[in-house]
Symmetry: C2
Subunit: 121 residues, 2 copies
Amino acid sequence: MRIGELAAQAGMSRDTIRFYEKVGLVTGRRLANGYRDFPPEAVPWLHYVRTAQTLGFSLAEIARHGEELREAPDSAQALSVLFEQKIQVIDARMAELATLRAELATRVDTGCPLRAIGRPS
Amino acid sequence: MRIGELAAQAGMSRDTIRFYEKVGLVTGRRLANGYRDFPPEAVPWLHYVRTAQTLGFSLAEIARHGEELREAPDSAQALSVLFEQKIQVIDARMAELATLRAELATRVDTGCPLRAIGRPS
DNA sequence: CTTGACCTTGGACCGTACTCCACTGTTTAG
DNA sequence: CTAAACAGTGGAGTACGGTCCAAGGTCAAG
């Protein structure tokens, strides 16, 4: 799969994919003519990258997670550990959001002005 | 309140506060000697800025919301609307997280590698 | 054999959000 | 009176995440 098709499938620009390749987020082989050739798995992987990004993970973090996965690719147990770690990160993020949500919900009821927000301990 | 104390109270650097003033996120008067003088409300406001930021709002958005609030400062209802909007943003983010979490949880059980993640529709 | 769509590279540029620096002025404590 | 601790300014630099562009190579269709 060449870069244009991958870009279309992943919903991002060719430039972005080249940038991602540069920072190690995607890898592909080269055809004889120098064109990049990506495997079909690149499509779901890039979708995953977008998702993780909107969840607040930096490209560096995402790349690192990807490498960890590639380093222990055949151990289902190793994979499970990694997934569990990620889930913990997600749970922490969700807890933060829940706290903020509760704070805001209180203000909705009281009409308490913004200046009083975030006045914790 | 001078910039150093505000920085300490708000948990950010003086430079950051000067930067925020430059982009209109905080305003303060000036003392005779040229020093900035911030009102006490600047402290919770900056805490709020930090909060909103972690929710994914850009400084420009936060500044704009702040202006909207200053334009209708005595309407508890207007405030509630804004808070409700923010809560919706939070809920959307939490839902996304829950989705990713569920995806990952599935992989934990199956040991199915990441390349199969995000293979939607 | 040209046209157009695709690909390559390197490098410049952008917006966001700071962070650091040098140099200078002000205030406060001993 | 002096030294430290604070304040001011302007401007450069950083990190991240792209985005755009020019100059050129490749390939399939007409």
